[in-house]
């Protein structure tokens, strides 16, 4: 199961628009995608779950993908987080 740890470097973490942008992107893939922070796992396609994780600037999160196109989804999402 491909996964990668990323550090949120932007000012607001995954709060405001970035949460919506991230969840929307995740929802465009067929595979399962999880976002993990401090052992809490969230469905990355669910904006409410992503918000609930309360990811702020400097937090380290893991993106975990499983299923069709998992590798591609992972690299796209890691890139997206870097550009937020």
């Amino acid at each position: 199961m491909p996964e990668q740890e990323v550090i949120l470097d932007n000012e607001v973490g995954l709060h405001a628009r970035p949460a919506a942008v991230f969840a929307k992107k995740a929802a465009s893939f067929d595979c399962d995608i999880k976002l993990v922070k401090d052992g809490n796992e969230a469905n990355a396609k669910s904006i409410m779950s992503v918000l609930k994780l309360d990811v702020t600037k400097g937090d380290s999160v893991t993106i975990r993908t499983e299923g069709d196109g998992a590798e591609e989804a992972l690299s796209d999402l890691v890139e997206l987080v870097g550009s937020l």
């Binding site: 000012e11 607001v12 405001a16 970035p18």
Partner: protein, 555 residues
């Protein structure tokens, strides 16, 4: 009769039955579901309909509102929320409306527990979305579009998605428990000319109760007595007669406003949103004299992107069709909530690091805004850019250079609102294309009288000869090198405007509700009359004297 006191948010009066916009009125079914498959299908369908409805509204909206609606559309499709609701329907036979409200509540509570203000606000977005889905399921969509009888809308607050649906012909007035004069509801109400009172605290009324709204005094009367009712009604009908009369007189006016003896005066509109621009253009505004750009920044946890800022400018340029758009660069400081800047607290923010001072402190923020304007501009647009809070000629020069570096075709000017700038208006006019007098702040600084302090009302009268002399000093100093406009509240008063025209002001910018009357008044005046009014007012010793003298001079 009960009398409630709130904050006046949009002028005018109205009396009509209450139309309660209340989320509590939703009656959720309690009996267990028999056919769970069918119920799940209904749930998914309704959620999808709500999502696409919100998306459609987002597409029509702008800026932050568009973003909120877009995020809400995603919430309506949220797989975790839907799964939780479906699970409740299947395993507990919970009716879909209840299941979706409960599922949303679980998330909302988690978000609300966060210390982050932004997250708490999203909790109410989640609840709003789930209740919308539930309402669709029980067939009780209570959007304002379903109102069929002229009413006063009473609400705790109006969700952003619903404000856009206010219909001037049906909504007689608005009474809101929450909110402030700068809330979205207040802005839209003013633009549409709907009397509104906000910040009433609790509003306990039943559907159909007669409600009188006084948007001038901020009072709301529940079941008004005969005397109050007839007074409000006659004020409302006088205002309506006046409006009809103005429309009749305005019908014969040509595109641009001129006095009877041919002096051209540009009557422009002050806007923060597209809805105000639309209302202004309908009333015959000849351009935008003040675009307040602060809405793009307030309450934001990250800076608005250049693309978003550019789109906001473009959205105003399109309907203007080549008419001038005067953009004021951001004017905020420690007094406004701009989370992404984390500005230090100041003892006296009105006189602190705000406007052009903040721009010099953080030039990249200004460059970003100017770049966004340059991106938005295309052939045929008429753009003017002005800096707020300029106090010295050196600041004006710095700003002009900054705009020049952004490489676009635009007039460059400054707001004249600091007394020091009045004395240096000649030197400032030397480097600028125009000077726009902001009477609200200029009065506050000229009289050292806090504009928020109601007890100092007598020191905030725009007819005060001291302010009129300042306007004269600016016009004289500019001496044709730069055009002079006025964009404060005083510019909306026809008598004050005539004095200003007599002093040499060439452009007047005001709220959309004042445009029609201003065009008519100026078209029926003469430049000679305006000059006589100006001379008489300048010679007075106080505001009341100036007003009286100007009226007398105009006959």
């Amino acid at each position: 009769m009960r009398t409630l006191q709130g904050t006046p948010a949009s002028p005018g009066v109205a009396v009509a039955p209450a139309w309660i916009f209340s989320r509590a009125a939703l009656d959720l079914p309690k009996e267990s579901v028999e056919e769970t498959d069918l119920e799940v299908e209904r749930l998914r369908d309704s959620a999808e309909q709500v999502a696409s409805d919100l998306e459609a509204r987002s597409a029509k909206a702008e800026g932050e509102l568009a973003e909120v609606l877009d995020a809400q559309a995603m919430m309506a499709r949220d797989p975790e929320m839907i799964d939780a609701a479906v699970e409740a329907v299947r395993t507990k036979r919970t009716p879909a409306p209840r299941a979706v409200v409960d599922a949303g509540e679980t998330f909302a509570e988690a978000l609300q527990a966060s210390e982050n203000e932004y997250m708490a606000a999203r909790a109410s977005d989640v609840r709003d979305v789930c209740v919308r889905i539930a309402r669709r399921l029980v067939g009780a969509d209570d959007t304002l579009s379903q109102m069929s009888q002229r009413s006063v809308v009473v609400a705790d607050e109006l969700p952003p998605a619903d404000v856009g649906e206010l219909d001037r012909d049906l909504v007689a007035g608005i009474a809101i428990a929450q909110g402030s004069r700068t809330s979205h509801t207040a802005i839209v109400a003013r633009a549409l000319g709907i009397p509104a009172v906000v910040g009433l605290g609790e509003v306990e009324v039943d559907p159909g109760d007669e409600i009188a709204v006084d948007g001038d005094s901020g009072q709301v009367f529940v079941e008004p007595d005969e005397k109050t009712r007839s007074e409000i009604e006659s004020r409302a009908s006088r205002a309506e007669d006046r409006r009809r009369h103005l429309i009749e007189r305005a019908a014969s006016l040509e595109g641009s406003t001129r006095t009877r003896d041919g002096r051209r005066v540009e009557v422009a509109v002050n806007v923060a949103t597209e809805v105000e621009l639309k209302a202004g253009l309908e009333a015959g505004a000849e351009g935008v004299g003040l675009f307040r750009t602060e809405l793009l920044y307030l309450d934001r946890t990250e800076a608005p992107s250049r693309a978003e800022q550019s789109a906001a400018v473009r959205n105003l340029l399109d309907p203007l069709e080549g008419k001038r758009l005067v953009i004021r660069t951001f004017d905020f400081g420690a007094d406004k909530p701009v989370p992404f800047l984390s500005l230090p607290t100041e003892e006296n923010p009105a006189m602190g690091v705000r406007g052009v001072r903040l721009a010099r402190d953080q030039p990249e923020l200004l460059d970003d805004q100017l770049g966004a304007i340059a991106d938005a501009a295309s052939t045929g647009d008429r753009i003017a850019i002005m800096a707020p809070m300029v106090a010295t000629a050196e600041e004006a020069r710095w700003f002009v250079e900054r705009v020049e570096r952004a490489e676009m075709e635009a007039e460059v000017g400054v707001m004249l609102e600091v007394p020091a700038a009045v004395f240096m208006a000649g030197e400032i006019a030397e480097v600028c294309d125009f000077l726009s007098i902001g009477t609200n702040d200029l009065t506050q600084y000229l009289f050292a009288a806090d504009r928020q302090n109601g007890r100092l009302g007598s020191l905030q009268d725009p007819f005060a000869p001291a302010l009129l002399r300042a306007v004269k000093a600016v016009c004289d100093a500019a001496d044709g090198r730069a055009w002079v406009g006025v964009c404060g509240e005083a510019a909306a008063d026809p008598l004050w405007a005539m004095i200003a025209v007599g002093l040499g002001v060439e452009e007047l910018s005001m709220g959309p509700e004042s445009i029609l009357e201003m065009r008519v008044s100026l078209s029926e005046s003469t430049l000679d009359g305006c000059r006589a009014a100006a001379a008489a007012a300048l010679a007075a010793t106080d505001a009341a004297g100036a007003r009286g003298a100007a009226e007398k001079a105009l006959g």
